[in-house]
Point group: C2
Chain length 395, copies 2
Amino acid sequence: MGGAWPEVVILGGGFGGLAAARVLERARVPYLLLDARNHHLFQPLLYQVATGFLEGPAVAYPLRALLRRGRFLLGRVERVDLEGKRLLLEGGDALPYRFLVVATGSLPSDLGVPGVREHALFLKTLGQALRVRYRLLEALEKAARRGRPLDLLVVGGGPTGVELAGALAEFLRYTLPRDFPEVPAGTVTLLEAGPRLLSAFRPALGRYAEGALAQLGVRVRLGAQVAEVGEGWVRLSGGERLKGDLVLWAVGVRGNPLPGLPADARGRVPTDPCLRLVGYPEVYVVGDLNGLGFPQLAPVALQQGRWAARNLLRALREQDPLPFRYRDRGQLAVIGRNRAVAELWGLGVAGLPAWLLWAFVHLRELVGFRNRLLVFLDWAYTYLFREPGVRILPD
Amino acid sequence: MGGAWPEVVILGGGFGGLAAARVLERARVPYLLLDARNHHLFQPLLYQVATGFLEGPAVAYPLRALLRRGRFLLGRVERVDLEGKRLLLEGGDALPYRFLVVATGSLPSDLGVPGVREHALFLKTLGQALRVRYRLLEALEKAARRGRPLDLLVVGGGPTGVELAGALAEFLRYTLPRDFPEVPAGTVTLLEAGPRLLSAFRPALGRYAEGALAQLGVRVRLGAQVAEVGEGWVRLSGGERLKGDLVLWAVGVRGNPLPGLPADARGRVPTDPCLRLVGYPEVYVVGDLNGLGFPQLAPVALQQGRWAARNLLRALREQDPLPFRYRDRGQLAVIGRNRAVAELWGLGVAGLPAWLLWAFVHLRELVGFRNRLLVFLDWAYTYLFREPGVRILPD
């Protein structure tokens, strides 16, 4: 590794890491951002990439273009050497730090269900979202050759599962007859182990989501616990077997800690209330990885990243750190065209107002002018022509 | 294979196959288009995908969306059974035909130079163009880590090589300092075995291209014959070794015939002047694959595809076929922002007028309204901000 490296290192360019970077930029503190990917990913819209409603680059932004004062390094950390205060990188290099912000987020979890890793599709990274899209297009081509219908299974009735099932149902309803007239109408089934959808929202909104999905043709199965996943099928705990040409796994994430960091069974790293790793006050842990028990949502990661960077600035000035306080601004989930649910300021909202709010919030939060423009154009096009634009299988 | 299949089969959805399909659509003759890829590719702009100036889907269009009356099949042909009049598909299916249009285009050729297949990058498919982009971004990240410059080699001084070298030089000049301030300025070298660039154009335009490339910082080496390619280097026939972090092979294509079809040493299939396979008047061969000796250019493929389909319609009406006549509308090559060369109606044009003409012609020819809009927006953005938008490395 040539040259001098900044003393402050941020691991991960997701919502948490980027929020921390921005605080440091404004304070003119030099820092290094290290990520195994070269882009920030706007995960909340990833399901639209998977279903072809958005292009991949519309929800991904090059990290280098975001860091005008910080330095960027593309690389993978093999181990954190907490005692030696350095990161051991893949390839043998070692990177020393004085302060470290760990913001490596979460990974999909198979929840111990056999076959998930081999046969189900996940939706956490850009590559995974593109793989879902390619597998969907390939399955459609195969169905066209044989004149057979396509049956899709989505596992998990949280926001991701609901959004994905809604988008898939719209895809099958509007794109399928136009592009694949030889494929008979298939099914989208949403499997949820619990007694209702969107359990983090109030019950009325879960019921609204159920009704809205049913209107789109999605079969919602509550109390359906998946016991095993195979090639083209899912077995429920009661023994029932369901056919699924694609099985999308939208349930369960676990923290993505690094070797060398302590972690609990769910992969979360214990910190003090000021977001500092217990016993190592120079290491901050934010976002999905943080063990304080906040929900694994983008707003939490964002606020924790900002808070950790502010505490880091306080430490540089030899001030005491402040305990993290979360400002809950509510939550949103979208079901389809004009249909969404929102919980804000103690109110539950459903339907078009929630959808407009959802569209506004997501456009506002998307990083970068260009992406905002692209997403807006893609949406406008899809809305006007009811046709997802991206149906290319690269070779 | 279920159901009844059309009697007319078109192999390949490039310029030639698509032009044939359109003639059949207008004549309301049912047909099947078979391709191993699900998209039509606008190859003339592929070098812009490779350098990140355009998104992949901006130059690719789903074939299904183009064929409203025809039927589409995604699949690979293993062998043409000329005697049995059927196509043997990968996976064991057989597809009978009464008439066949073969338009499978060309593949890159290594011209017998050792190491090309293993170490050089090609630019014929969307996947290859994306690979060039990813390799370029990865090489830049590696160069950033080590603080070393990046040296790029382009082999071939035809239109593709000239366009690619110009786009790479602009990429290094405008994007590099902004996104990779830690990477020292590198070089782009264009190697041409012959005595001048763009040998298919008049000599003055080749000289103009040379000057314009030099202005962009490209080192043009004429009479430089590549004898061997290795990992990170190229050896010339005189023995000289040049360093190249990436080696782009933009020289030589050979026809992409199918087992079962006769072909010459360059992979071209012999046809009569009416574009029919010698001895098999129910088989038409068009585009890069046709052995009549026309240049391997998009306009030739387009005109031959149209012509073959019209002869096919004549055969259906039991009329005699007409010998193919090529209407040469001239040729164009672009070098960079505001710089291009054109040869039209016996005139040679260089500079901004040629560039405007080039932009107009390519926008007009791009298939599909949506792509035209995307390309226009990407260009406008790049032009205004001198910044290619697509710099995402997917995982």
